[in-house]
């Protein structure tokens, strides 16, 4: 019969709480007592006593500390010492690891910083979750677009009729204006008209003034601290009268804190809405206070219990009642306020158009780089595992547990990752200005929140574990007997996984190169495409109010300067063309066609060198030309008229029908993301945009002439001008940003991969040094030796290509679908990417293999 054993649970308990160092003896003593009692007192009593002994042994728990610490502090000291020696011994590997990890970490830190900033947008309003913006879906001939604009009378009626709506704030933007106080002029960038409850609904901080009162009266303005300081210096601004929009007098009623960066509503000056209401405020801006003109933003704050869906469902009836003519075309809906910033990439006229796409692209690039860096670490550490084999063998022989070896190697990766993150933090500091430049943000190091610091620390910790755990597992698994017999050195470990990781690195690198090539080609294509009009050497400006009412004398004065060779006047310009109208072919209302309207002068078509394919352009000497139109080819197609000359386009309201006198060749006036839209051009006598022709050699003179004339006619508003070509380029800012980001990071990822590859090759070469020596002694040629070593990398590269090409093809295909005008998805970028990768790879590894192949075999073999 088998001898009874003491309760397992009790033994387990003892093992759990008592120090490992004394478990053996304590458990032994308890067992001995158990045996003795078993003989004299029987099983039950013995077991009970055993339990009692175990429980009473709890008093010996503190003994663990005394025995453990002495030993492990010494061991940890030793770990640090060995880690330090290893770092010095393998200087190159350490360097490659640290550099790649620190670049990877820096990328991650930068991008976390960026993501934090993007996610924090608009999150500081206490009422935020209850606020919605009134957006609408616009259905034009079945093409549905979203836009963020509504009309002035919508909001107040909604507040009155809908019990769910507790407050409504309208925000209308007037981009810039100049303020005067005594002798001081100040240019204000964000001037908004807002309802009087602005400060009650939103949590923008009001430093001076009563939030409920500041915007109640007509002609009251609230300035931000920055503007107030610039304008009033040390004087108290409250109650002061300033000259502002349209040269009228305004009273400063409040001072707001400077607008937070992470708000999609940006302002430097707020003017009370009542000032714009006809008959009540002197500004009397009709379009802002009617049912139809869509040009401002309406924010609704709902009652706490109300759901946006119930408001949404009642909106169609509301539209039918108030804007019956547009009810079919418009479909209003509520967009949550806190989603406005990131969720409005497809919403037109939204002041913030960031969108999550760039965020995703950037984050995935950062992740890819980090992966490459971590893989480098894993690859390099596993490949030099054999060199640590003896050390581990000895450690195990003198009693190291597997766990301790794992801890030792994790500690080494912690040290390295810690070092790398310090360098990474420094890199972030250095790179932040450049990063800000191409993301168009203004992120400061001081913006880092404490939670982000903690998050970063956690990420660093995770990376340390992720990169250290696999090598640690491999090395702790060494069998001491084998290792010390020497049968293991010279072999390498983790070959299979290492190949997988290298392949993965290659894949990432190739995909990035392919994407960079495609994006650069598409951006170049967009920037250089013949748009159908002259965009080079065109200086653009918009008239101020004073010049608008007086533009003929202004132009007459301007053209006296002989640097002005050609000019054109219009309302819309190729870069700015938001007006659209409904036209009735032959005056038939049912056949209504929606088209963009260009109101231009008779010089416009010639100035932009637009090609007239039928009929003629406008002539100011023919008085009837004021009721004529020039259409583009797309419009002609839409009308279905082969011979449009002489036919009529009716217009809504009292506007006279237009007779078509010419057809202009299609030109791309909007972003190349979109197809050309139908256009109707008519002649206007009230232009507000001026285009001037320049030559590369007389730009300064043209600007000088413009400035001098401007100052003669306008003493308040400053002149703002720009070059058409640059404005058009700005349209592709997001593509340019993606391009810059991806090309910078592609170079970084190639660099990091090369570090890893270089380290690995030098290791492979070192391992094969005897094989190479023997082969050479037996007469192998240098080329054969090079082939021997390069072959392995060649195969890896080939596999990577097989994966990378379909992946990047799919990605780029999807990306290019976003452009109406795009380059072909040809094979040449892939070929180029393959060539670049192959070239870089072979350069990186050949340096070492050639050295190995040329080496004197005697040197390699004599050590044996």
């Amino acid at each position: 019969m088998e001898e009874p054993k003491p309760p397992k649970i009790a033994s387990g308990l003892l093992k759990w709480f008592i120090s490992e160092a004394i478990f053996d003896e304590v458990h032994g003593d308890l067992l001995e007592l158990y045996r003795a009692r078993l003989d004299s007192k029987g099983l039950l009593i013995a077991s009970l006593y055993f339990y009692k002994d175990v429980v009473l042994s709890l008093r010996n728990v503190p003994l663990r500390r005394n025995y453990r610490t002495q030993n492990s502090t010494a061991m940890f000291k030793n770990y640090f010492k060995i880690a330090y020696r290893n770092i010095l011994k393998h200087k190159f590997y350490t360097l490659a690891n640290t550099i790649s990890l620190s670049i990877g970490l820096a990328s991650v830190m930068l991008i976390t910083l960026f993501v934090q900033q993007e996610l924090s947008y608009d999150n500081f309003h206490e009422n935020g979750p209850r606020i919605y913006r009134l957006n609408k879906l616009v259905d034009r001939d079945g093409k549905i677009t979203k836009n963020a604009e509504s009309s002035g009378l919508f909001g107040p009626s909604l507040a009155e009729e809908f019990p769910e709506v507790s407050e409504v704030v309208r925000v209308s933007q007037r981009s810039r204006t100049t303020l005067n106080y005594k002798e001081t002029n100040f240019k204000v960038n964000g001037a908004l008209y807002v309802d009087d409850n602005f400060f009650e609904v939103f949590d923008f901080e009001l430093k001076r003034g009563n939030p409920e009162e500041v915007l109640k009266l007509p002609m009251s303005v609230v300035l931000t601290e920055r503007v107030a300081t610039a304008l009033f210096k040390n004087e108290d601004p409250i109650g002061k009268s300033i000259v502002g929009i349209r040269g009228l007098n305004y009273t400063v009623t409040g001072i707001a804190a400077n607008c937070p960066k992470n708000s999609h509503i940006q302002f430097e000056m707020l003017t009370s809405w009542i000032s714009t209401v006809p008959d009540r405020g002197p500004l009397s801006i009709g379009w802002m206070n009617n049912w139809y003109t869509q040009g401002l933003a309406t924010y609704l704050m709902l009652e706490p219990s109300a759901s946006p869906a119930s408001v949404d469902s009642k909106l169609p009836a509301f539209e039918e009642k108030n804007i019956p003519e547009r009810a079919e075309m418009y479909d209003f809906y509520l967009q949550p306020f806190e989603q406005v910033y990131l969720g409005s990439a497809d919403v037109q006229f939204s002041p913030a158009m960031s969108g999550t796409k760039f965020l995703y692209i950037l984050s995935s690039i950062a992740l890819a780089i980090l992966l490459i860096a971590v893989f480098n670490y894993v690859n390099i550490s596993t490949s030099k595992a054999a060199s640590r084999a003896k050390e581990i063998g000895i450690r195990k022989v003198v009693g190291a547990l597997k766990r301790q070896i794992v801890i030792q190697h994790l500690l080494e990766s912690f040290i390295l990752v810690f070092l790398a993150s310090l360098i990474g933090a420094f890199l972030v500091k250095t790179a932040l200005p450049f990063f800000n430049e191409f993301t168009g943000r203004n992120i400061l190091l001081t913006d880092i929140s404490s939670s982000l610091v903690i998050l970063t620390l956690i990420i660093i910790l995770l990376i340390a574990v992720a990169s250290g755990i696999y090598p640690a597992m491999i090395m702790s698994g060494f069998k001491p007997v084998q290792v010390l017999k020497g049968s293991i050195s010279g072999k390498s470990f983790g070959n299979g996984p290492r190949q997988v990781l290298i392949t993965f690195q290659f894949v990432i690198t190739i995909v990035m190169i392919v994407c960079t090539i495609f994006i650069s080609r598409q951006t170049a294509f967009m920037n250089n495409k013949n748009l159908g009009y002259e965009k080079e050497n065109v200086l653009m400006t918009q008239f101020s109010d004073a010049i608008y009412y007086n533009h003929e004398p202004f132009i007459n004065e301007l053209v006296k300067d002989n640097s002005i060779t050609d000019y054109a006047l219009s309302q819309q310009t190729p870069k700015w063309s938001n007006a659209s109208n409904s036209y009735y072919p032959d005056g038939i209302r049912e056949k209504e066609v929606e088209a963009r309207t260009f109101s231009i002068d008779d010089r416009f078509l010639k100035f932009y060198q637009m090609e007239i394919v039928q009929g003629r352009g406008f002539d100011r000497n023919i008085s009837s030309d004021l009721t004529t139109a020039v259409i583009n080819e797309t419009m002609m197609e839409k009308l279905g008229w082969d011979q449009p000359i002489g036919r009529q386009l009716g217009q809504g309201g009292d506007d006279p029908a237009l007779t078509i006198i010419g057809v202009v060749k299609d030109f791309n006036f909007r972003s190349l993301h979109r197809e050309v839209e139908p256009i109707v051009m008519e002649m206007t006598s009230r232009p507000y945009s001026l285009a001037l022709k320049t030559r590369p050699d007389n730009v300064k003179e043209v600007i000088g002439a413009l400035e001098r004339t401007w100052e003669k006619f306008e003493n308040r508003e400053p002149l703002v001008y720009s070059f058409l070509e640059e404005d058009l380029k700005a349209r592709y800012d997001s593509e340019n940003n993606v391009f810059k980001a991806i090309s910078i990071f592609a170079v970084i990822s190639i660099l990091i991969s090369c570090f890893g590859l270089y380290g690995l090759t030098s290791y492979t070469v070192q391992q094969k040094i005897k094989e190479v020596g023997i082969r050479k002694v037996l007469g192998a040629k240098e080329s054969a030796v090079i082939y021997l070593i390069n072959r392995r990398f060649g195969i890896t590269l080939l596999i990577a290509l097989l994966i990378a090409i379909p992946v990047s093809y799919t990605m780029m295909n999807a990306w290019l679908q976003g452009f109406a005008y795009r380059i072909d998805l040809g094979m040449s970028p892939f070929a180029l990417a393959i060539l670049i990768t192959a070239l870089i790879t072979s350069l990186t590894i050949s340096f070492q293999t050639i050295k190995a192949a040329r080496a004197n075999p005697v040197k390699a073999l004599r050590t044996e």
Binding site: K5, I22, D24, E25, G28, D29, L30, R35, R59, N60
Partner: protein, 109 residues
């Protein structure tokens, strides 16, 4: 002074370790105390006392070989150090000195 103070129970354990000489491990010490004084002590108290004595430097220990009777667990054997012997001597002489100074009248009667 903490660390060198020898408590009553510690002194007893220390004496026992000295008595058992080569055979002093947890259970043996416990049994010896039971036999000599009739005091029933739990094994855990012995363990903690031995450990304290070792920290103070009065005893030192080494692990013995594995034996079958203890489920393969090894014994830790304790021996008296010369410092421990000195501590016992001092305690003994202190006791004797004080004992000798007890005047006869103190016994009363």
């Amino acid at each position: 002074m903490k660390g060198t103070y020898l408590g009553e129970f510690e002194e007893l354990v220390l004496l026992t370790v000295g008595v058992l000489y080569d055979e002093a491990y947890g259970v043996a010490v416990m049994d010896e105390i039971k036999n000599e004084t009739g005091r029933s002590v739990n094994i855990s108290a012995i363990h903690s006392a031995l450990r304290r004595l070792e920290e103070k430097g009065f005893v030192k220990s080494k692990m013995g070989g594995a034996t079958n009777e203890r489920g393969g667990r090894r014994k830790r054997f304790f021996v008296l150090t010369s410092y421990g012997k000195k501590a016992l001597d001092e305690a003994q002489s202190l006791r004797m000195k004080l004992y000798d100074r007890i005047p006869n009248v103190a016994f009363g009667n």
